[in-house]
C-alpha cells in the first residue's frame, strides 16, 4: 500500500517552525525569572503570554506556506 504517486504532501521544512514553539515553551530556565518586568508583570508571565501570540503567528505562517 505504499505506492503513493504524489508524495509531496508528507513533510514540509516549514514544520520546523513548530519545533521552535515547542523548545521555547518547554524550556522553563529560559523564562523563569522576575526581571525584566513589563508594566509591573514579571517576565515569567508576560513572556509566556507573548509566546502564545508568537506561536499563533508561526502556526499561521506554516498554514499559509503549506496550503496548496
Amino acid at each position: 500500500m505504499s505506492t503513493e504517486p504524489r508524495k509531496r504532501r508528507g513533510w514540509s521544512g516549514w514544520y520546523l517552525l513548530f519545533l521552535v514553539q515547542f523548545v521555547v515553551a518547554l524550556w522553563p530556565p529560559l523564562y523563569n525569572k522576575v526581571d525584566p518586568t513589563l508594566a509591573g508583570i514579571p517576565f515569567f508571565y508576560w513572556f509566556q503570554l507573548l509566546w502564545v501570540l508568537v506561536s499563533a503567528v508561526l502556526t499561521a505562517a506554516v498554514y499559509f506556506a503549506t496550503a496548496d
Partner: protein, 515 residues
Amino acid sequence: MQEVNWVALIIFIALFGLISWLGFAAARWRKGDLELLHEWGLGGRRFGTVVTWFLIGGDVYTAYTFIAVPALAYGQGAIAFFAVPYTIIVYPILFLVFRRLWHVCHRHGYITAGDFVRGRFDNRWLALAVAVTGIVATMPYIALQLVGIQVLIGGLGISGTGLAGDLPLLIAFVVLAAFTYSSGLRAPASIAIVKDILIYITALTAIIVIPIQLGGFAKIFAAVPAAKLILATPPPGSTGAYSGYATLAFGSALALFLYPHSLTGILSASSGRAIRRNAAMLPGYSFMLGLLAMLGLLAIAAGVDKLPEFARGFDQFKGNFAVPALLLHSFPSWFVGIAFAAIGIGALVPAAIMSIAAANLYTRNIHREFFNRNPTNKQESRMAKWVSLIVKAGALVFILEVPTKYAIQLQLLGGIWIIQTLPSVMLGAYTRWFNSWALLAGWAVGTYAGTSMAYANKLANSYPLQAFGHTFPGYIALYTVALNLVVALVLTPIFNAISSDRARDATRAADYTGD
C-alpha cells in the same frame, strides 16, 4: 454570612434561560436527520472554521478550567501557568496529527477514536480498550463541570442541605440533558458561541478593571509571596520544578485531543482546512486562559480569603472559590451575574459534548461490536441518545453522593489513562507498523503503571523518577506513555514473527491527506 445576591441571580437565570432556548432551537440549525448517529453526534460534520473555533474552544476550555487553573495559581502560584505552554504546544499537534485523523475518519465515516482503531488495526479488543478508556476518563470530567456550577451557585449565595441545596444543580442538569438529547452536538455548538463571547467579556474586563482597583500589576505581584511568584530553582541533583512544569505541559498537550470530547469537536468540522486554520486561531483562547490564571494571583493580592463574607465559600470549596470571590468582591452585582453565567454556561457546553462523545463510543465500539452487530440507523442514534442521558445521570449522582476530592482525583487519573491510547490513535494516524496486540499490551502496561505510580505518590500527578543518580520529577502520564510505547515497540516484532496482522488495515495511505 453571605446573602443571596438577587440581581446577579436573576441575570444568571435569565442568561441560562436564553441558552436553554438556544439549545432546543439548535435542532433546526443546519438541519439534518437526527435519527442518524453522525447527524446527532457530530452535527452532520457541517461546521466551518468559525463554528469549529467556538466549538473546540468551548469544549476544551471548560468551566472547570476557568475555576481550577486560577485556583491552582491562587494556591501554588507560578506552576499553574503550565496551562500556557500546554496550550501553546497543543496546536501544532492539532495541525499535524489530527488533520490526518479528520481525513481518514471523514472518508470512512468513523465517529470515534475506537472506530478509527477498529478500521486501522482490525482488532476489536484494541478498539474496546480505546473506547472504555475514553468513557472512563470522561465521566469524572463531566462530574467536575457540575462541580464548577456548584461553586457558582454557592457564590450566588444559595446554600442549603438536602434537596433544597441540590435543586439548582438538578435543574441545570435536567435542562442540559434535555437539549443534548433532542439536538445532539448542534446544541453545544450554538451555545458555545454565546458562552465564548460572555467569557471574553468577563476575562478582559476582569484583567483590566481589577488591577486598576488594586493599584496596578507592580503592587499585585509585590503582594504575591516570593515562593509563588516564579518556579523554584531546582535543587542540586534534580531537575525540580522545571521538569515538573515542562512534562506537565507536554503530557497534558499530548492527552488533550485524545479525550473523546475533543475528538468529537474535531470530527464535526467540515474540512481538514478548517482544522488547520483553527490551529492558528485557537491560541486566542490560550491567551485568555493565561489572563485568567493571573486572576488567581489577583485573588491573593485582593486578600479575598480574609473577608468574612467569603469565609463559608472558601470553607466549602477551598481554592476553587478564589475566582468567584474575586469577582463578587470587585464587581457590581449585574456584572457578577454575567460573569457567573459565562462560567456556568461554560460548564454546559463541554458537559454536553462529553456525554455525546461517551455515548458515541459506547454505541459504536461496545454495543455494536459486542451486542447488536447490525443495528438500524434509528436504533443506533436512539441508543446514543439514551447513553448520553445515563452518562450524565451517573456524573450527577457521583457529584451529589461522593466528596468532590474523589472527582478531582479521578479526573487526574483520567489524564494518565487517556494518554495510553496515544500509540494506537496518534501514531496510528501515521503508521501501521505496530502489531495490534503489542499496542494492547503497551496500553495495559501503561495504564497499570500509571495508576500504581499515582497511588504510590498519594494521587499527585508528578512522580520523582530516579535515573543516573539524578531525580527527574515529572508528569506520570508522560513517563508511563513512554513505557507503553517501549512495550509496543519491543513486542511488535515478536508478535509479528508469530503471526503478523499488518495486512489487516481498512484504510489506505491516501485516506489520510487531502484538501
